[in-house]
């Protein structure tokens, strides 16, 4: 099965986790994808390997960036019609709070979708949805 077929199978079976399983680095991070009332939600499980500052401790900012980007990508694959892997053009990430050594959640929203470019916003949080640890917006080539 090629990547497009894998994506289509995931979408048709309403099993978003299959998207992550097809992306090696998403598997490396152990990302968990679920569907809830608001749509796709992505969980980055806490592990020692994602820590940036062991004394605090805090998750590495780059890993939070990776979670935000991966969330935007799977969101676009899930919502898109082409079942293709989007290409990230750029990402702008605001680090709002230190992310502690615990699970982090993230959710994306498509703010604009053109024929070739999609604009996506993503927020990541830990215990409280209204206290995000990071927020990002990015542009993605989708065609």
């Amino acid at each position: 099965m090629n990547l497009e077929q894998t994506f289509r199978a995931a979408i048709e079976s309403r099993d978003p986790q299959k998207l992550c399983d097809a992306i090696p680095y998403a598997k490396f991070l152990g990302l968990r994808l679920d569907l809830d009332d608001d749509g796709l939600i992505c969980r980055l499980p806490q592990s020692d390997e994602i820590i940036g500052n062991p004394t605090l401790p805090a998750i590495h900012g780059g890993i939070i960036g990776a979670l935000l980007e991966a969330t935007a990508l799977v969101h676009l694959i899930w919502e898109g019609e082409g079942a293709i892997m989007p290409k990230t053009i750029n990402m702008s990430i605001d680090f709002l709070r230190s992310a502690g050594a615990k699970d982090t959640l993230a959710r994306g929203t498509i703010t604009r979708q053109g024929r070739r470019v999609a604009n996506v916003r993503v927020e990541a949080w830990q215990d409280q949805r209204d206290k995000p640890v990071a927020a990002a917006h990015g542009h993605f080539l989708i065609g």
């Binding site: 090629n2 990547l3 097809a22 992306i23 090696p24 680095y25 998403a26 598997k27 490396f28 991070l29 020692d48 390997e49 994602i50 820590i51 940036g52 500052n53 062991p54 004394t55 605090l56 805090a58 998750i59 590495h60 900012g61 780059g62 890993i63 960036g65 990776a66 979670l67 980007e69 991966a70 892997m85 290409k87 990230t88 053009i89 750029n90 990402m91 702008s92 990430i93 605001d94 680090f95 230190s98």
Partner: protein, 154 residues
């Protein structure tokens, strides 16, 4: 400038960077560190790939390398021992990374004020083969966070 004009010993920054768990998990290593400039290297690995059809590294891996190199550059430019926190990171992906080739990240702290360090960085696989560019800002002494050169009370 003499080293006494700077806050944090370069060796302390090297040790701190080498001990970052997320860096160790990626297998990243420091290539060089000067005042205001840091370079990191990452060997390609199959489990760090973002697109299995091209074999290119995931953007998040590139981001992690750029963020760490940028933090190193900012720390090394500080005039006193203090902590920093990343305010924001903006990254442009210029082209996909090629598989099975190491990735480098060079960062330069090009301006430092009383409150903010401004850093630009580039990720590349060869000198003329730039993959990504980033700009980031760091808040200085944002809190009592532990970092390189921090005094540890016993």
């Amino acid at each position: 400038m003499t080293s006494t004009e700077y806050g944090i010993d370069l060796d302390a920054i090297l040790q701190f960077t080498a001990a970052i768990p997320a860096m160790r998990a990626l297998g990243a290593e420091v290539v060089s560190l000067k005042r205001g400039e840091g370079c990191l290297k990452l060997e390609w690995r199959a489990d760090l790939v973002g697109d299995p059809e091209t074999g290119g590294l995931h953007g998040g891996v590139v981001t992690t390398l750029l963020d760490t190199a940028s933090g190193m550059a900012a720390f090394s430019a500080l005039k006193a021992v203090m902590q920093i926190a990343t305010l924001d990171l903006r990254i442009d992906y210029l082209k996909p990374a090629r598989p099975e080739v190491p990735l480098f990240a060079d960062a330069t702290c090009y301006k430092i004020t009383r409150n903010i360090a401004f850093v630009r960085a580039r990720a590349y696989q060869a000198d003329d083969d730039q993959i990504a560019a980033s700009l980031s800002t760091f808040m200085l002494a944002s809190s009592q966070m532990p970092g390189p050169g921090a005094k540890v009370s016993s």
